[in-house]
């Protein structure tokens, strides 16, 4: 009698791939027949189990999400950091330009406003300024303005003021 069949040969016979000699041996050898029955029983059990839904694993309820999101979060943060480096090195000068533009605009608006809404012409303004100058200077010097009378009396020497005030 030939030696007993290997597990591989038993599986071949069970899968209808065995040779005639292997099948014949199986019919004659009680030990191989017993091993064959055990194999058939296991395969039946495997099939029946795998045909049914997969059982839930006990640790599932205790792990709601895990840490699978951590690598994604780190990658996203690194990407954001790398993407922002050029912008940080060369910040956009927009605020300064806006500021300088706004100051220019303000100055221009002030000039336009003064020109449009001025109620006196330039000569009047200059004349008024010239007439008021001696009084202002006198107020600053805590003294009296240099009028024509005082000039000729020798009390002051501001000829220009004496002439202006004399004309009043």
């Amino acid at each position: 009698m030939k030696p007993c069949l290997s597990e591989r040969a038993l599986l071949r016979v069970h899968s209808r791939d065995g040779t005639a000699a292997e099948r014949e041996h199986l019919q004659l050898c009680p030990e191989c027949a017993e091993r064959y029955d055990a194999l058939a029983e296991d395969l039946h059990l495997l099939r029946r189990t795998l045909e049914e839904p997969e059982p839930a694993t006990p640790q599932l309820a205790s792990r709601p999400l895990g840490l699978g999101w951590v690598p994604l979060a780190v990658a996203a943060a690194l990407f954001a950091l790398v993407a922002s480096v050029p912008w940080l090195r060369h910040p956009i000068p927009a605020p300064l330009e806006v500021a300088s533009r706004s100051s220019n605009v303000s100055a221009f608006a002030a000039d336009v406003s003064a020109a449009v809404f001025a109620d006196n012409d330039a000569t009047t303004t200059v004349a008024l300024a010239s007439n008021d100058a001696p009084y202002l200077q006198a107020a600053l010097d805590a003294g009296s303005p240099c009028t024509g009378d005082r000039y000729f009396d020798g009390e002051c020497d501001d000829q220009l003021s004496a002439l202006l005030l004399e004309s009043d």
Binding site: L45, L50, P55
Partner: protein
Amino acid sequence: MKVAANEPAEYDALYRLHHERVLRLCHLLLSDPDEAHDVTQEVFIKLFQARKTEERAMVWAAWLTRVAVNACRDRRRSGWWKWWRERHAEFIEADLPGTALTPEQAALSDERRRTIWQSFRELSARQQEVFVLRQLEGWSTEEVASTLGLSPGSIKRHLYRAVHHMRKKLRGRQ
């Protein structure tokens, strides 16, 4: 189109007849219920398209199995799926509907069933395919070899390794 008039009815009949089987097959090969549903849907879309163009007489059951196995393999090969599967295998397995067990399944302890499923998940993708087609679908070695593009000898080796591994785990638990 070959049978445009009665095509919807035939498609519906094929769908009703094979949908559950294809879904179970995809779930076995992918283990993720959502992925299994997606791939099953793809398979039946391909069936719908194939029925319009295929002129030969087809054994649609075998065709569906072959397309499903290939679709599952393609899905497993995609990099993101591997990444996701490795990190979320524990959660995926929980999302399964409970069904009434037969007296035989009831006799099996939950621990033994988990052991069997775990040992199946430990098999390589190819071993899972061979085991499912050979033992669960009942295909011959030549049919499996033709579908998977392997030699019959290679199919036998994959089947032996798969069965040996699962029996070893099963026996080790007992």
